[in-house]
């Protein structure tokens, strides 16, 4: 039986290779031209209830501006931002209907506002909305003077007279010895900054006032309780198909987007969405899940599903995406021009995908070997590499009811023994934690080892 299988697969592989060689030529001949993704239609716009602004469903996030070294200015802290490339992004975005640009005084080591100012200066002011934040996180900015100075600096850097959307940046966080409530009060209440911003809005210097939220849910609730006084024009929240119902599993400090969204919808406050791809984790996924998504919509990328998901919510004003590369800009514009909301069935599929991803997250190990040698002889990168390989090849199963469970189980266990000798496998990790401080990715190696060990154990015990 097994040998027959092996031979079958071997011949199938040979056949597909042959086929691929024959068909690739024909394909390029026929489909020339569609490669460059041109939007099918007009960008979708959503309206702000308080002002009537029509905002593009896709917003340009300015946290990951391109650098001259072809990376993102978020990671490449010392590398110059590529103004020319950024201008090209902005031009393309404007030409294809994007009108919302979201920056902050702290993005890209404080360079984001400056470069966005240069890029947007070339565009007529009525063609775009600029959003920035009062990012007075550090205690040195908690005084009224320092905060107001930061606020005025944003006008200067962005080279504008009015700011269309102003946010209290990331309420709900803590700072040093101050808990979330104290931090919120120090940043915005005690120094009168909130009142100041309300006045600025009344004067027309700020056209919309809102806040972005991460962390303690009590602060979110408190800010919404102030809605009567503040009349928030919008609120920015973290939302995607994983955070909708599983925010706590991603980060215990977070709250399900389902709750946040419902609270906003109740008060008719539009939601601006950040982390639509969960820090890039929803841009690529386990190949067996990807296969499910691809089977439904063969031409769609995994990221497109995540964006369409958010576009399906009517109270979402705009979805912010930090786009380092032009192809991201193009693809995302394509997704929202116009948006094709997910059907009920597709929403259910994405929930299934979310559960699968949480159950089997890959380990962000890059194989740098800094953790080695483990004093107990464990091959740490070898184990992670095998685990990730299996995840990506679809050999990590969700449940024993899966169609390919037996095969996946076999591939995982046999590959494990081949890749890592028994005495160097995860079950020998004693959790001493010597490796932990060496990991540049901050992976909690002992915890991951025990997770993988548990998975291996469950596979082994489900045999025969």
């Amino acid at each position: 039986m097994d040998r027959r299988d092996f031979l079958k697969r071997l011949s199938a592989a040979t056949a597909t290779m042959g086929l691929a060689a024959c068909t690739s030529d024909e394909k390029t001949k026929e489909i020339i031209g569609t490669e460059s993704k041109k939007p099918n239609g007009e960008m979708t716009y959503r309206t702000v209830p308080t002002s009537g602004d029509k905002v593009s469903l896709l917003g340009y996030g300015c946290m990951r501006l391109p650098t001259v070294q072809h990376g993102s200015a978020r990671e490449q802290k010392d590398i110059e931002i590529d103004q020319e490339e950024l201008n090209a992004h902005v031009d393309y975005a404007i030409a294809h209907g994007i009108n919302y640009f979201d920056t902050s005084p702290v993005y890209c080591q404080g360079r984001s506002e400056h470069h966005m100012g240069i890029a947007l200066k070339r565009i007529p002011r009525d063609k775009y909305f600029i959003a920035t934040k009062l990012s007075n996180f550090a205690q040195e900015f908690w005084s009224r003077e320092a905060s107001i100075k930061m606020y005025h600096n944003s006008f200067k850097e962005l080279q504008v007279d009015t700011i269309d959307y102003m946010l209290l940046h990331s309420i709900g966080g803590t700072n040093g010895e101050y808990n979330s409530t104290q931090t919120f009060e120090k940043r915005y209440i005690e120094n009168g900054i909130l009142d100041f911003l309300l006045e600025e809005r009344a004067k027309g210097k700020i056209r919309h006032l809102g806040f972005s939220y991460h962390g303690d849910i009590a602060i979110f609730d408190r800010a919404l309780a102030m809605h009567g006084k503040c009349k928030w024009d919008f609120v920015q929240i973290q939302m995607n198909y994983v955070d909708w119902l599983h925010a706590k599993e991603v980060n215990p400090a977070n709250t399900n987007a389902e709750y946040l969204y419902a609270e906003l919808e109740k008060r008719n406050i539009p939601a601006i969405i950040m982390e639509p791809l969960l820090g890039g984790r929803l841009a690529s996924t386990l190949s067996f899940i990807a296969a499910k998504l691809k089977a439904r919509r063969p031409e769609d990328s995994i990221a497109k599903w995540a964006l369409r998901y958010l576009g399906s919510f009517p109270n979402v004003l705009t979805v912010l995406s930090g786009m380092t590369y032009m192809e991201n800009v193009k693809e995302n514009i394509d997704t929202y021009s116009p948006v094709e909301p997910c059907t009920e069935e597709e929403l259910a599929l994405l929930e299934e995908v979310a559960q699968a991803m949480l159950r089997y997250p890959s380990v962000p190990c890059t194989g740098c070997q800094y953790c080695m040698p483990c004093p107990y002889g464990i091959n740490i990168p070898g184990i992670f590499q095998h685990y990730n390989k299996c995840i990506n090849e679809g050999n990590v199963s969700i449940s024993s009811q899966d169609e390919n469970y037996a095969e996946a189980r076999r591939a995982f266990l046999m590959g494990y023994d081949r890749a890592v000798p028994k005495l160097r496998q995860a079950d020998h990790c004693i959790g001493c934690g010597m490796c932990k401080s060496h990991c540049p990715q901050n992976i909690d190696i002992p915890k991951e080892m025990q997770r993988i060990d548990k998975y291996v154990e469950s596979l082994k015990q489900s045999m025969d």
Binding site: F6, Q369, M372
Partner: protein
């Protein structure tokens, strides 16, 4: 034509049987037992021990009806001797000619009585050393199983190169040089006898052969000489590897005949047929033979051939054992950038650990014939033949390379004698084969002052909890506390303990397995 058919049928059956049993011993996947397990279950002594009454009675009935077909097509050691004899005839310039010889009755009787007495008195090593299936089993375990492992490794490596997971890397075999010594001794001894005289072993030593010959001595059907056709040319006697045809008198001693059918196929005159015998051709029964034999015993000075051969064989075996032991100690492994792992050593156990399903020391000693099949089947590198005298070559457990996994009962699945027998995995997980013992000085909480807890984390019975080394101080390094009532003795803690070469926690066996 018809006369040749019987021989060919015998050869085909024997080849199939031999290949099946060899496959069973070489299999590393555990698949073969599903299809071929019966081939060892029907072996004579295993069928008695396992209580397979149907198989045992069938063997006796078939022997009573048709003679010792068992010795020709079921017994792997018998088939092995036929192969050796066949090779002997191929390699020698002059074809070996067998000749009729008198029965070595006294020797057969002594060994058979010794065998039965040993079995009844539970003198286990004697039974295991004499029993033909187990003799073959030890040869297969030490000499063929490594070949099977090698093939499996090759297949695994090549399927890996193809990105395929059809073939698994096999578990290493726990090799025993004591077992190899015993196996080589019997191999050389029996092979020489077979090379020279065909089935000498079966008709002088083998106790199963002797027992079966009592049933075969007047079997309903047997090779019968038609005296009218026979010209007394003696060709049949020269071809008889059991040396049981007295061509001068035209008598076939059916108690020693192993139904190879060679005489029938070789006779030019068609004088021998496999048919019912007339009274005239009847072999005198065992009682008569004994009386007759001891009547002339005083004259008979024939010394047994075995002694000289065995001495020579022993020396050969001895030198081989020493040679392979030396190569092993010289081999070194290199691991590249990884930290070196100090190999674990087996701790000094006061009581050995026998596999779950073996019930007690007494049970395994009574029932196990030490064929080694369980050892070749163990996928976790746990089982190995005992090398201590009181339990020589029976399976014992140790956990340097792996531990007795909760999802596995392959040893019980393959065991033909019922020495290891588990109804299901639930029974296994409820069987306490031993209990863990802590050696506090080896624990890294004492040696290095760090908490580890790997034993507690992996204990399938939840028998280990970690407690602070300093009373009341929760922050002090933690050390395992063992609930020996809960411990089932699987060895996970011993195997996964970071302390090397001696683990800080090890298992002491139980003389009687507790099941709850």
């Amino acid at each position: 034509m018809k006369s040749k058919f019987l021989k060919y049928a015998r050869v085909v059956c024997a080849v199939v049987m031999m290949l099946s049993i060899v496959t069973l011993f070489c299999d590393t996947t555990g698949i073969a037992r599903h299809y071929l397990g019966w081939t060892v279950d029907i072996q004579f002594l295993p069928s008695i021990s396992a209580g397979l009454i149907a198989a045992f009675v069938s063997t006796l009935v078939v022997t009573k009806l048709f003679g010792r077909i068992y010795c020709s097509v079921i017994c792997p050691l018998g088939i092995f001797q036929d192969i050796v004899a066949r090779l002997g005839r191929l390699t020698k310039k002059q074809k070996v000619k067998y000749s009729y010889s008198d029965e070595k009755l006294w020797m057969r009787l002594i060994i058979a009585v010794l065998f039965i007495a040993s079995y009844l008195l539970c003198a286990y090593p004697i039974v295991g050393l004499l029993e033909p299936y187990s003799i073959f089993g030890r040869m297969a375990t030490t000499l063929l199983a490594p070949v099977g492992r090698f093939i499996a490794e090759y297949l695994a490596a090549s399927s890996e190169a193809a990105g395929d997971y059809t073939f698994a890397m096999p578990a290493a075999l726990n090799y025993s040089y004591v077992m190899l010594g015993v196996a080589l001794f019997s191999l050389v001894f029996i092979a020489i006898l077979a090379f020279r005289g065909g089935r000498t072993y079966c008709n002088t030593i083998c106790p199963v052969g002797t027992i079966l010959s009592i049933f075969a001595e007047n079997s309903v059907m047997k090779p019968v000489v038609d005296h009218d056709k026979c010209v007394k040319c003696g060709l049949c006697a020269k071809k008889c590897k059991a040396s049981c045809i007295d061509a001068k008198n035209g008598i076939v001693d059916s108690s020693r005949c192993v139904d190879c059918m060679n005489c029938i196929s070789v006779c030019h005159k068609g004088a021998i047929s496999f048919s019912t015998s007339s009274d005239k051709d009847k072999t005198p029964n065992i009682i008569k033979r004994i009386k007759e034999h001891f009547g002339k015993a005083k004259k008979d000075e024939n010394a047994p051939v075995a002694t000289d051969e065995s001495k020579r064989a022993f020396l050969t075996v001895g030198s081989l054992v020493v040679g392979s032991a030396m190569t092993k100690s010289m081999a070194k492994t290199f691991d590249g950038g990884l930290a070196e792992i100090t190999e674990k050593k087996e701790p000094q156990r006061n009581d050995r650990i026998t596999p779950p399903g073996s019930k007690s020391y007494k049970h395994i000693e009574e029932v196990c014939t030490s064929c080694g099949l369980c050892i070749t089947a163990c996928p976790n590198e746990v089982l190995r033949p005992s090398e201590s005298l009181d339990s020589l070559l029976t399976p014992v457990m140790s956990f340097e390379k792996g531990y007795c996994r909760p999802e596995c009962k392959r040893c019980s699945d393959v065991c033909p004698t019922g020495a290891i027998s588990l109804a299901d995995l639930a029974e296994k997980s409820a069987t306490h084969v031993g209990h863990a013992v802590l050696i506090a000085d080896n624990c890294i909480s004492m040696k290095k002052g760090v908490s580890c807890g790997n034993c507690a984390r992996h204990c399938p019975a939840g028998a280990i909890t970690m407690a602070p080394t300093v009373n009341g101080d929760e922050t002090s390094p933690k050390m395992p506390v063992i609930d020996s009532q809960r411990c089932i003795g699987c060895g996970a803690c011993e195997n996964l303990c970071p302390s090397s070469p001696y683990s800080a926690i090890y298992v002491e066996g139980h003389r009687v397995h507790r099941i709850d």
